[in-house]
């Protein structure tokens, strides 16, 4: 517990960050997204490597996922992909007006992970592109092009000894990562909008920088009954920001507190969770709030959530060695909730092997 308070005290002295737009997390678990991104207390799969390493202390078996593919696209991109293509061609200036107010965002990832009792390791490759134009009177915009790859190793250990009450457990976890990143997100001036071309995207993706980062977390587990467990989590990812050489966008830190309930009876499992993210950042409190529910059966998982103030949902299917998932969620692009929502669809497929 002293470690916990020392860690918090260090963080209290850190400079506060004002978040003006979306927080670009390193890894988006499709389950977490479907559950409104409320995952800190309840993450019980490979997502724990990234969301809260302490949760790995509760893992008993081995799970291996390889060739996990994730494709995350904004609804505007899906509905008008041909428009997006012409944005970078020779078009009449006036036709740029039809792109104003549109959100073009795409993110693709390839992952592999192994989790075992008290540990997890994952390799990631992530590519994301975003173009957003606003304001016909005085055009503004955001241009994002970012490529990240690397690996993250995490472990979780129980802090309460065997002499303590068995219905309680406090767990501690840490993760270390080494990442390579090129590019990032930046604002577009009027001049840049008027002279936008594809080379601005590709140029961003050329110069890789290396970054080392650390995550730390706690999980409190209390069995309320043989079927119901109370969970609480506190996680800090990318402590002090994971910065990269070459000046590429840093992976911003995020401190999240979460609570949850787990019900398990036979093959039926239910999770209810709430996260309050970005505890140390200045942001609209509604943008920090995440609420999620999951109903799990032997082959099927159904999720429902509130990501910030927007409904999210998803469904996942596990068939022998294959795991499939479809998710819909919405992400706020402004510092104030309800101002600029971006609807997205995420599809995920992986080959898995559990012991």
């Amino acid at each position: 517990m002293r470690i916990l308070f020392l860690w918090i005290a260090l963080w209290c002295g850190a400079e506060r960050e004002v978040l003006a737009d979306e927080f670009h997390s390193l890894f988006r678990s499709p389950r977490a997204q479907a559950m409104g991104n409320a995952f800190t207390a309840v993450a019980d799969d490979e997502g724990a490597i990234f969301y809260n390493a302490a949760n790995l202390a509760g893992n008993r078996g081995f799970g291996f996922k390889f060739a996990a593919l994730s494709l995350d696209l904004s609804n505007d991109l899906i509905s008008s992909y041909t428009n997006f293509q012409t944005l970078f061609g020779n078009i009449d200036i006036s036709s740029l007006n039809k792109f104003v107010g549109q959100h073009y965002y795409g993110r693709g990832g390839v992952y592999a992970s192994l989790i075992g009792p008290g540990f997890g390791i994952s390799a990631i490759y992530d590519l994301q592109v975003g173009v957003r134009l606003k304001n016909t009177a005085f055009p503004q915009g955001t241009l994002g092009a970012q490529r990240t790859y690397g690996t993250q190793f995490a472990f979780g250990i129980p802090l309460l000894g065997k002499g303590k009450k068995k219905s309680w457990d406090l767990r501690f976890g840490m993760a270390g990562k080494v990442l390579w990143r090129a590019g990032g997100y930046s604002g577009l001036t009027l001049t840049q909008i008027l002279t936008l071309d594809a080379s601005q995207l590709t140029n961003k993706l050329e110069n890789y920088g290396i970054g080392l980062g650390v995550d730390m977390g706690f999980q409190l587990v209390h069995d309320l009954s043989p079927l119901v467990t109370f969970l609480a989590g506190l996680s800090g990812t990318d402590l002090g920001d994971t910065s990269f050489t070459m000046g590429n966008d840093p992976q911003k830190s995020n401190v999240t507190a979460g609570v949850g309930l787990r019900y398990k009876a036979g093959d039926v499992k239910a999770l209810l969770s709430y996260d309050y993210a970005h505890l140390l950042d200045s942001w609209d409190w509604k943008n920090k709030s995440h609420l999620g529910l999951e109903l799990g059966f032997s082959l099927l998982k159904l999720e429902l959530g509130m990501n910030q103030t927007y409904v999210s949902y998803g469904a996942g299917l596990s068939l022998f060695l294959v795991s499939l998932m479809y998710v819909h969620y919405t992400e706020e692009q402004s510092g104030i909730s309800g101002t600029d929502p971006e609807g997205r669809t995420l599809a995920y497929a992986a080959v898995k092997f559990d012991l």
Partner: protein, 302 residues
Amino acid sequence: MAAAILFITACGSPGYDATNTTANSILIFGAVDQVNTSLSTQSCTAALAQIQPLYDSINTNNQIRLATAASYGCAAKVNIFQMLSDLSKASDLGGSGLWKYLVTEFPSVSSPDDKIPTAAGLGTDAAMSAVRPGTLFVPAVEVNASSKNPGSLIYTDRVGDANSYITFLSMSLMGSLLYRNGVPDATTHVKTVPLPWITAATTVGDGCAFASGLLNFFDGLGSITSSSPSSVRGAYQTITSYLLSGVDTACALGCAVVCAGASSCTTCPATLRSRASCTGLTTDVNSCAAAGLAKFVNSSWI
């Protein structure tokens, strides 16, 4: 764990409070975001309502001033992509074509008042107040000095984005006033009525506003030419050459001929960048120069 969560929440930053009259960074970012979103759908009234409280507060800054300018720009019918596209297709911009282009882009009526010139003027005020850090205001060329957003008539005092945007607002100001006062032909877009601001006394109001718009437009052309797409760069260069050869001469003629030498000027006065600078007296250099500019347009808009 619960104690830890309470502890960490307490040491975190203050949350966003929409009822707090003192703006914090989130409030400023959020208001600007809201303005940009509103202006994506050309909801000018909503945008102004969102930014005006901050613009009038002690929390105002250049980001807010430019968002305010954009909100007025929306009301002044400024649509940059459309304007640039039309500009790239316009002809004879080194003469009558410039005035024809402006009235085509900004048709305007005074009854009922569509408020386009008013919005363009107020937007220019807001953009003029986006000055570089550390700017020393010279009282003679300062506008709205007693407000929370004092502006400078000297374009080098202002940030680049402000100067770029003033060129577009000035086009709206000039175009709408030309349309109202020159009553252009529906087909040829040539004036059917001479501009009335050809004496010092008649420049007070619209004449002075038009002259200020022309000079502010001219000031910003240099910076915006280099930062424009190639398709409109040539058009800007043509306009620059045209005005370079005519504007200062027109002002000098206004002083020497219209006011019969009662005031003296060899170039356009810096103070004429303010639309409220004309007094209507023949001893007022701004009024005389503004009258000279009106005569210059009358002679070329044919």
